[in-house]
């Protein structure tokens, strides 16, 4: 039997030691009628060779973004991952370790989380980071819950330029616990500042702003911070692309209170959308309202530096119904991948990734903009993703370029924008890849 060590002979010896004749004798507490008489209807067991063949065949039915020329983004990005990342996360000491509750045999995990927290604080300019959330969407949702817990206001104002998938998740987390969501409409691809100003009052708990926003556009976070903090208690939550932070304002520069985002870009593959991981950081005064695990440095009995989970009185295994969140397992290995990635890239590497992504995106945008019938959808500055108005439906372009294995971007029609394509570029693209897209779009030009 696969993956089971004991032989039938050993099994018999053990049953005898327990004092029963057969396995079924151990099930006396299960009502007889519950016990299945027939085997479950599953495929017959595959050997390692057979499953390898089957999986290879299934994988071959997919067209990966390695084979295609892909410009898909919308929250998940195809950035370069150095080979060393996977070698480290595959170490069994990280890969099959348990959550680091027993600190004395988990110092490896605890220290990398401490280093991860330090790097997230450095990127965001915040003072405390947790050990990670499920994804950017749940991090954003939990940041709103954190704000309402802190200031006991229950109106959350959300810039309508937020990734629509995040908004859906936020709704799941806030509906039913008395939080009112106020969505501020977009105007020319940016949040409407006048509408935002009007929505803010003394009952506002927080303003959630994504920048670069869903369309890739850079929001004026400085102006929005002023509007947010014109209400005494309101907290400013920022959702950011961690790669952008190598060249763009640290959220501390515009006085963000809580910073969240999707961390996948940092050393994690796209994996058809999961696993991902969310980061969540804040000013130190909000630390005790944070969800999730936090690692702290301390000393061991010999007075040497050591690490352990800290501020655990916030968490579900201690506080139960009064915990700051229900989160237990997060996406620890993805955080490790991010830590290794940031360490390998260092400050110069991350800056180079950001620079190449943004310059290549701008080159592509300018070239597409030259095509008759195509134009940039918005005037706003953008980072590595931009929206394009198309002469035919985006759906038609996507469908026709599929034959050339080009994935030109995301159709924005489901989000209310007809004839619009959202195009993302990372440092992995070469000029020839960008030119290939431009050339292939010419057939739609009019």
């Amino acid at each position: 039997m696969p993956f089971i060590s004991n032989t039938d002979k050993e099994r018999k010896e053990m049953l005898a030691a327990i004092g029963v004749k057969k396995f079924e004798d151990l099930l006396i507490n299960i009502p007889q009628k519950f016990l299945l008489e027939e085997d479950c209807c599953l495929d017959e067991p595959h050997s390692e060779l057979e499953i390898t063949r089957k999986i290879s065949e299934l994988a071959a039915k997919n067209i990966s973004t390695t084979k295609a020329n892909s410009f898909l983004g919308g929250g998940i990005y195809d950035h370069f991952i150095p080979a060393a990342v996977d070698h480290i996360i595959l170490r069994p000491e990280f890969h099959s370790a348990y959550t680091p509750y027993q600190a004395e045999v988990s110092q490896g995990t605890l220290q990398y989380i401490y280093e991860y927290q330090t790097m997230i604080c450095e990127l965001t300019g915040m003072e405390i980071s947790n050990a990670g959330m499920y994804d950017g969407a749940s991090a954003a949702a939990e940041a709103i819950l954190m704000a309402t817990r802190k200031n006991k206001n229950f109106k959350a104002v959300i810039a309508g330029t937020l990734n629509p998938n995040y908004l859906e998740v936020i709704k799941s987390y806030t509906v039913g616990v008395g939080i009112e969501l106020v969505l501020i409409p977009a105007k020319n691809g940016l949040v409407d500042l006048n509408a935002l100003q009007e929505a803010i009052d003394d009952n506002t708990s927080c303003v959630l702003l994504q920048t670069p926003n869903f369309f890739g556009n850079i929001e004026d976070a400085f102006a929005i911070e002023e509007i947010t903090h014109s209400s005494k208690k309101a907290l400013f939550i920022n959702c950011v692309d961690p790669i952008s932070l190598a060249v763009m304002n640290s959220p501390a520069e515009y006085k963000a209170d809580i910073v969240v985002g999707e961390g996948q870009s940092l050393g994690n593959s796209q994996n058809y959308g999961g696993p991902l991981f969310g980061f969540l950081a804040s000013s130190i005064k909000l630390g005790r309202s944070m969800p999730g695990r936090i690692v702290g440095a301390t000393l061991d009995a010999d007075g040497k530096r050591a690490y352990c989970l800290t501020l655990q009185a916030r968490e579900q295994h201690i506080r139960r119904a009064k915990a700051t969140s229900n989160i237990c397992s997060n996406e620890a290995l993805c955080n490790l991948a991010a830590t290794v990635y940031m360490t390998l890239m260092g400050k110069e590497g991350l800056k180079e990734v950001a620079m190449q992504s943004t310059t290549k995106a701008h080159y592509l945008a300018e070239e597409i903009n030259k095509l008759a019938g195509f134009s940039l959808a918005f005037d706003a500055a953008f980072f590595k993703e931009f929206a394009v108005k198309t002469p035919v439906s985006a759906e038609e372009i996507i469908s026709r370029l599929k034959a050339k294995t080009i994935f030109p971007g995301i159709d924005l029609k489901p989000f209310g924008y007809d004839n619009m394509l959202l195009v993302a570029v990372t440092e992995k693209k070469r000029k020839c890849d960008l030119d290939e897209l431009v050339n292939s779009l010419k057939e739609f030009s009019r």
């Binding site: 997919n62 405390i128 993805c334 260092g346 994935f407 960008l434």
Partner: protein
């Protein structure tokens, strides 16, 4: 203690290579100066070798399954086959974007479709969503489904979720997160749900009941049908926390015995390594009439084509993840089920149960085992109360001494209803020799409590660091390195 990576920084050192940018545009043309970062990002500058040495050094301070046994109750720390990791690292999976056209991801969708089907089959439910990415995330999803059900029926008076005092901490926390109120009932002297106490607390406000089965004492809740009848009589729903599903796979189908909703922990039961805290997955199975409330999309199949099925989106309570959940984890569960087959599945549960009973039996004279009169399922709870009363040794000390013997500690001080609890779950993958060695170590520790109590009070002595001061960590909060 290892230096931090920041202390290994050397200005100008590089751990990466990138191609030269073949597009010449200045940063100022891309990003207005106002939005450019004022102070450089301070990340360590180290070589690739520096990085490898650093993380290898850290790794050596961790326990892991390949190093030794993990008798962690309710965590199912089984060995997970390596073939999973090899196969999941296929370019045709790793490098798929979630918004690709369905035609270009048929293999991925087939895996997800098959996994939905297989999980539904083995649990006795009608369909399964693969969107939740952790056990607690599954609980949240399951309770949202419950809420959607009551909203749909106009049951606005339903406000309370009942759960036993043996429940995992995530259960009450999930109840709060969806806006329900928790009602905790007492377990009876057999360690099972107290039916009388349950009846006393069930009323028209009851939205549902959450139960782990087998429960956290490792006991099968034999009255589950009676409980379901009581809960269903007030139109409440039965939620099963599937953390302990490893004990009953192939033996019992919860969906056929009174449960309406259940989560699976793919990282416990279905061969995804724990990863130091994730990524896992917490799929949710439901009975037929609740499918319409599941997060969209499900994976559908028409003729020979697989597709993202959004048909129930209007009645769905919403989404819990940016995309379709932890795809890479789901692939591993798919592979595992295909490799086990129907007989293997049952065998997993059987051997998990035998292993647990074997340890329980062998330790009964050395530790207080409150429910030893009954056979346990895949885990049992021992108590350090004898050692505490006679020798003043706490369960925490015993746990730390277990680390010295080369094992991970059991789950301790949980469930809350057993004093000085040590919850032990061996899993099916461990061999008899490993269990015998562990049993010997536990007996030796019981003797040390009598003869050398100082060994326990000072434990651990053989670990990378000595006992860690967690109160100091709270008092002098230090959550990032200053450099």
């Amino acid at each position: 203690m290892a230096k931090t990576i920041f202390e290994k920084h050397s200005e100008g050192r590089k751990g990466y290579t990138l191609p030269t940018n073949d597009v010449e545009i200045s940063l100022n043309r891309c990003i207005p100066e106002k939005f450019q970062r004022k102070e450089e990002v301070k990340l360590p500058e180290v070589s690739e070798l520096d990085v490898m040495r650093h993380f290898l050094e850290l790794s050596q301070m961790n326990h892991c399954i390949e190093k030794g046994f993990y008798p962690l109750g309710s965590c199912t720390m089984k060995y997970n086959p390596k073939i999973n990791e090899t196969l999941v690292r296929n370019d045709g999976f790793n490098n798929l974007h979630p918004l690709q056209d369905e035609d270009t991801v048929q293999g991925a969708l087939e895996i997800l479709y098959e996994l939905q089907k297989d999980l539904a089959e083995i649990s006795g439910f009608s369909n399964v969503t693969l969107q939740p990415v952790a056990g607690a995330h599954g609980e949240f999803t399951g309770l949202k489904i419950m809420k959607a059900y009551h909203d749909h029926k106009g049951n606005s008076h339903k406000k309370k979720i009942i759960l036993p005092d043996s429940a995992h901490g995530t259960n009450p926390a999930s109840v709060t997160l969806v806006g329900y109120e928790m009602v905790e009932i007492k377990s009876n002297e057999k360690g099972l749900v107290g039916i009388e106490d349950l009846k006393a607390h069930v009323n028209d406000e009851t939205a549902g009941f959450m139960l782990t089965n087998p429960n956290t004492l490792g006991l099968f809740e034999s009255q589950v049908e009676e409980i379901a009848e009581i809960i269903h009589s007030v139109d409440g729903l039965m939620y099963m926390d599937g953390a302990n599903f490893n004990a009953i796979m192939g033996l019992v189908k919860p969906g056929e015995n009174g449960f309406d909703i259940m989560h699976f922990n793919l990282h416990k039961t279905f061969a995804t390594p724990h990863g130091g805290g994730g990524p896992g997955a917490g799929p949710i199975g439901v009975r037929e009439d609740l499918i319409k409330f599941l997060p969209a999309p499900l994976i559908g199949k028409k003729d020979d084509k697989y597709f993202l099925d959004y048909t129930h989106e209007k009645t769905s309570f919403g989404k819990v993840h940016s995309f379709f959940g932890n795809f890479a984890v789901n692939i591993k569960a798919y592979i595992y089920l295909k490799m086990l087959g129907p007989k293997g599945l049952r065998r997993v549960a059987e051997n998990a149960v035998i292993n647990a009973n074997y340890i329980q039996k062998k330790l009964e004279n050395y530790y207080d085992i409150p429910f030893k009169d009954s056979f346990c399922m895949h885990e049992f709870v021992a108590s350090g109360s004898w050692q505490k009363e006679k020798h003043g040794i706490k369960t925490l000390d015993i746990a730390k001494r277990i680390l010295d013997k080369g094992y991970h500690a059991p789950t301790i001080y949980f469930p809350l209803i057993v004093h000085e609890a040590m919850m032990i779950e061996p899993t099916e993958t461990e061999s008899k020799e490993t269990l015998d060695e562990f049993i010997d170590a536990m007996i030796e520790i019981a003797k040390e409590c009598e003869e050398h109590p100082e060994l326990l009070k000072n434990a651990p002595l053989n670990t990378p660091v000595k006992r860690v001061d967690d109160t100091l960590a709270v008092r002098q909060l230090n959550v990032k390195f200053e450099w």
